[in-house]
Amino acid sequence: MSALHTLKNGIPLALEGLHKAFGERQVLQAIDLHIPAGQFVAVVGRSGCGKSTLLRLLAGLDAPTGGALLAGQVPLAQVREDTRLMFQDARLLPWKRVIDNVGLGLSGDWRPRAEEALAAVGLAERAGEWPAALSGGQKQRVALARALIHRPRLLLLDEPLGALDALTRIEMQQLIERLWQQHGFTVLLVTHDVSEAVAVADRVILIEEGRIGLDLPIDLPRPRNRGSARLAALEAEVLERVLAPAGSLAAREPPAARASWQGSAS
């Protein structure tokens, strides 16, 4: 277990005037955001609001059109090695066994560390199997182990639980929360499930029309009781804000996207 315990602390993030356009379309406009080291931030918003784009900018998969991404005082690009991204689909390489997927991109004697990372997500005994033999939730846990083995200081989660069933999703939320408490990395979780956001995060950020629409601290003690009235009230507050400008957005939002968002949030 020692290797996982020697993690460095989280990265403090600063987004200054962050701006991203794809051609004519403005996806993110002047985002200013400061995230202290080790904070668990959830980013919510409607489909197409730019929340996934924000994550891709932070992961370095896309370059911003303008503004700065800082890790403390240095550009975020300099600490790319400390940043890991988990995708909505697990993206395991189907031709590598589970343990080799966890060790992807590592050199030297990584096997004991990979076994350790798999044990941390409760899949130690599945190390020798092909990913095709795993369930959706197990694949995501392998993807989590693959991210953790790099000892990230910033963990970016792009709706990694979106495709899981309700119970598996709660299990995964608790697993991520526990590992976050153990290791102290900074987490940015993009989700369209508002109840998930308020249940696990220190702070919920709502993005609407490419801007930060709401920045709500969730200062409830952990472990949180999922049925509590306080959580429900916070969830209602966020939801109300998300749904408020529905009339003004309706003309621009494609109906299918709206339906799918409402379906998964309820």
Binding site: L61, W95, K96, L104, A132
Partner: protein, 264 residues
């Protein structure tokens, strides 16, 4: 217990019943004189011809020379096809420069080149190897190119974000991702390999199975002609088995190719 055993045995053997009955019918027709041996020799005569050629060692010699031509041609054509497929699949410039040219050449039936090839190489080994190489190049090229193009972009993005690039990215992500398609190309190419070789050996050769058949035709040895045809069938089947073995071995991870999946 014993009845289920018998049932299982019957199940196993039943696919062979029809071919065996036909063979029996064929043998009977020839024996009774209904079927002239100039049209079709009796199965027993084919067997006998095979045995005689085996005993004299001629059969092995012809088999070896045909196998050698096939494998050298396949290695050259397949290797080039693979290489070209990698170049056009991996680089935008490679695709722009090469793909449309290769596609144009692909549309020329390679057997149409036989007169030209004979003018270039004579009826030498080089002519047959050239034709086999040409016949196997395109199926492998095409499937390699498409295999690489269809590698899941999400996996490539993931691998890049985990620090893989260059050869490591190719070896760990792109090549295995393209492999199912490449192996489909290999199977097609193996079919073209025998087809090309049969034609080339029939037209101009002084050894090999095609030569065996053509030579036998001159002397009205229908039994040897049928034997040669059967040999081609067996060789084709062997190549197919080899391709399937490669699929089983290299695509173990793929649910569709796992041994458990059975009925294949």
């Amino acid at each position: 217990m014993s009845t289920t055993h018998i049932n299982r045995l019957a199940e196993r053997l039943s696919p062979w019943a029809l071919p065996l009955a036909l063979l029996g019918l064929w043998q009977g027709a020839v024996a009774s004189g209904l079927l002239s041996t100039r049209i079709l020799p009796a199965p027993s005569a084919v067997l006998e011809a095979g045995w005689n050629l085996l005993a004299s060692g001629d059969l092995w010699q012809h088999l070896a020379i045909s196998g050698w031509r096939a494998s050298i041609g396949f290695a050259i054509g397949g290797g080039l096809g693979l290489l070209l497929g990698f170049v056009t699949g991996l680089s935008k410039w490679g695709e722009r420069l090469l793909d449309s040219s290769v596609q144009m050449v692909r549309n020329v039936p390679h057997l149409a080149l036989i007169p030209l090839v004979i003018l270039w190489f004579g009826i030498d080994e080089a002519a047959k190897i050239f034709l086999v190489a040409l016949g196997t190049l395109f199926p492998i090229y095409l499937n390699t190119y498409h295999g690489i193009r269809n590698v899941d972009a999400g996996l490539v993005e993931m691998a890049r974000s985990y620090g893989l690039s260059g050869f490591a990215l190719f070896r760990q992500v792109i090549l295995p991702g393209a492999l199912p398609s490449i192996l489909v190309g290999v199977r097609f190419a193996l079919g073209f390999m025998w087809l090309t070789l049969i034609v080339a050996e029939t037209i101009s050769a002084s050894s090999g199975i095609g030569y065996l058949a053509m030579n036998a035709r001159e002397f009205l040895q229908t039994d040897v002609v049928v034997l040669a045809i059967l040999l081609y069938a067996v060789l084709g089947k062997l190549a197919d088995v080899a391709a399937r073995t490669l699929e089983r071995l290299w695509l173990r991870w793929h649910p569709a190719y796992q041994a458990k999946a059975g009925a294949r």
